[in-house]
């Protein structure tokens, strides 16, 4: 919308997200908020509390549990549900669980499809949810950059990118036909840095795994995997070692690589991100004469 003097970047993003959440709550018969326990979910939860205050948000939380999350995530999830007073629905693909599907034995692709994608569809159908709020952002990947805030799903839960509804102003079209559903992304215009800045500003709790600490990890295919529970079988010659690490994203522990870092607080994480940004920019925007950096040299050489 038109720029408004006086509201900061984060104020504006916050207001936009609240507006979107309210629009969902009033326009759909049975909305739900997908809750993945990560930092984006934590921000979504805070925004939902703000949107409906003093009422409790008018929709339940849905956690699609692959059964392979870090133990700290489960603890955190249950604590947040208690604190917010929101209903928490946990759904597991029982068929997958019965077959013992897991990333170590079946590979990441099958595991993800069965325990996440299929499980989500099962849950949406089981409870008849017609709108699902999720925390995806447009800066995450290329196809998301093109997806609408209100994104229509067909009866078979498919996204038809060629047939997206025009989305003008703040006038979201919430009308759907029977059997169709809507995925809604209130954080569409946020970046990863915005999310951390907001966590910092609002003092939002996140899973401690985001903060650097000594953790028992093994290096597999160049990735640091945390030995989170006894289901992880060590290969011959593999020896877990203690390293100061943290996680930038959280998912199933066997599929989530740690990074070595000393960032043990939200400000330290932001500093870590900024220094990565700034060093890039030093060579480009701020450092106008641009000598020195390898990138600059390449650039000069090429042009």
């Amino acid at each position: 919308m038109e720029k408004q003097r006086g509201l900061s970047h984060l104020d504006e993003l916050e207001a936009e997200s609240i507006h979107i959440m309210r629009e969902v709550a009033v326009s759909f018969a049975k909305p739900v908020m997908l809750y993945s326990i990560g930092k984006d979910s934590s921000v979504m939860l805070r925004l939902a509390q703000k949107a409906f205050h003093p009422a409790v948000p008018a929709f339940p939380l849905l956690h699609v549990d692959t059964t392979w999350k870090f133990p700290e995530m489960y603890e955190f999830r249950d604590r947040m549900a208690r604190e917010t007073g929101m209903e928490l629905i946990v759904h597991v693909n029982e068929e997958g669980r019965a077959q013992g599907i897991g990333p170590f034995t079946h590979g990441s692709a099958l595991h993800t499809d069965m325990m996440k994608t299929q499980a989500l569809k099962q849950a949406l159908e089981k409870y008849g949810f017609d709108a699902a709020l999720a925390g995806a952002r447009r800066d995450e990947e290329a196809s998301r950059a093109k997806e609408r805030v209100f994104s229509l799903r067909t009866r078979t839960h498919r996204w038809d990118p060629k047939n997206q509804r025009p989305e003008l102003w703040r006038l979201y079209n919430t009308h759907i036909s029977k059997g169709e559903s809507m995925r809604v992304f209130p954080l569409s215009n946020w970046t990863e840095l915005d999310v951390w800045n907001y966590i910092d500003r609002e003092k939002i709790s996140v899973v401690p795994l985001y903060f650097a600490a000594p953790r028992r990890v093994v290096r597999r295919d160049g990735t640091l995997i945390m030995v989170a529970d006894q289901r992880m079988k060590l290969d011959p010659g593999e020896e877990p070692e203690m390293k100061q690490v943290r996680f930038r994203t959280l998912g199933c522990y066997p599929l989530t690589g740690a990074v070595e870092s000393d960032a043990d607080s939200v400000p330290a994480i932001i500093s870590e991100m900024l220094s990565a940004t700034e060093s890039e920019r030093q060579g480009r925007v701020i450092d106008r004469d641009g000598e020195g950096s390898m990138e600059r040299k390449k650039q000069e050489g090429y042009f």
Partner: protein
Amino acid sequence: MSPSASTQEFRAYVNAREKRDILRFITCGSVDDGKSTLIGRLLYESRLIFQDQLARLEADSKRHGTLGGALDLALLVDGLQAEREQGITIDVAYRTFSTDKRSFIVADTPGHEQYTRNMATGASTTDLAIVLIDARKGVMPQTRRHTTILSLLGIRHVILAINKMDLVAWSQTVHDGIVEVYRDFAKRLDVTDLTCVPVSALTGDNVIKPSAAMGWHHGPTLLQALESADVATDRERLPFRMPVQWVNRPDTGFRGFAGTIASGLVRPGDSVLICPAHKLSTVSRIVTADGDLTCARAGQAVTLTLADEIDVSRGDVIASATHPPGQSDQFACYLIWMHENALLPNRPYLLKIGTHVVGAQITALKYKLNVESLERVAAKALELNDIAYCNVSLDRQIAFDPYRELRETGGFILIDRYTRATVGAGTIDFALRRASNLTRHKFAVDKPARSAQKNQKACVLWLTGLSGAGKSTTANAVEQRLHALGRHSYVLDGDNLRHGLTKDLGFIPADRVENVRRIAEVAKLFVDAGLIVLVSVISPFRDEREMARRMMEEGEFIEVFVDAPLEVCERRDPKGLYRKARAGELKNFTGIDSSYEPPEHPDIVLKTGERSVDELADQVIAYLRSRFEHPAG
């Protein structure tokens, strides 16, 4: 900023970043004007491009690049264009980048001529546009088209980036010539703030760094222009408006009205008017999860409580009592059509404005705008990407402001009632006063009185079906029976009416819609007169039959599907029309080259291929009897 920086330094830094605002802008230009390269360069120069991405870009440049293996920045954007070629993106992509001064959200729209719809989508949420021009080609039809759309959507700030200056020897004469032509065009539109920057996206001249080769340019570089553009409207200084999104009632003790403030300021104690109901009240509290506020401003999402127990619901606008919004149910507006199915005047749509959804019809297409020449062209229907000036009529009064004054209370979208698709977007120009100048006079003898006198229940039997299906034959038989039973009836026959009431109409879809509308209006009058009305008209489209249904009172409209297969109708061909249509002598013939949408839930289905006319007439009479315990029997 290093991880080891002190906490104090960190806070100062974060605070400074937090104070930056967001500039939302759109880039437009033709396919080969260098838009991808320009955006690629802005991303490359100002956003973090990590080592791995850079390595990939180098490899891609060697493989797909157009610069003989040199770093091709367009590929940063065109990673998506591969998908484009597979048809995914004829669509807006949103990208973000930031500098120390500002955060930016770019709506990147594809340059092809036919994507007005996507450009309008991208432009609607932005404050500024970069219009890109190839210095070798100058102002193109596409440039005019985009500028017109920008102007219609109220984008007042334009940066004209004249690109590929390296290919015209950095010539100021070329640059100035293009600027003059462009200014001349923009003058006729609502572009109030124009900044011109000669650039080369390829070499980076004047994109971020001032160009040594173009010392004659004294204005800002492109990035400087983006960083310094003052696009903040003074929405805070406009009268207060807040469309109510949701009524928050967690318990009986609290009743709050949640919404995003569209304009102005609000403080506890302010007098406000609830529109369109026109009820006065006073703001008690501004409630947020972070505590009550003493003042809230445009852009904020808040919850208001009022001093009085009055009825306020979603769709209402809480507004300044001293400067309330306008109120009407008829408007003159600009409309951008965004769907493959044409807009037909008088077809019923849903219209969403603010947080309100109402029924709407386009009652008159004043003209279609040729967006390149700005010429006004007559039109009977609107096709995808057409822009028109028209009158819209709503099924109830709404609060509004002209779009040029406030986007939030003056912009609307149109939604198809059946597919639920967003089919158009419009901007209110002004209210037509006619509705408020006309007052319905109430007459003492009314429909129930007239029906009672005739000892019957007035209704409409709407016979729809293909030409030759047997509509008129059946209507005739039914009316004979009603007449014999002493009932008062009338048949409105589509073919007969074309000699008078509808003789100015043809058979194109727009005329068919108007044909049905007129017949439905007449049927409504006859029902009001207390008659049993038989309508016999092909009425091929569901929307218009639905419109007719809604014009009557609940239960008065009986949809009768006169159902005969096309082959049967064609074999009968009582008027020889199918033969002519097949021979190509008759255009827009239903069932041949014009579609028929059968009813989804008809009240009566008459299989004319399987039963005799007498049996069918009996079936209708039996239905009327059971439906109304009709005195007809």
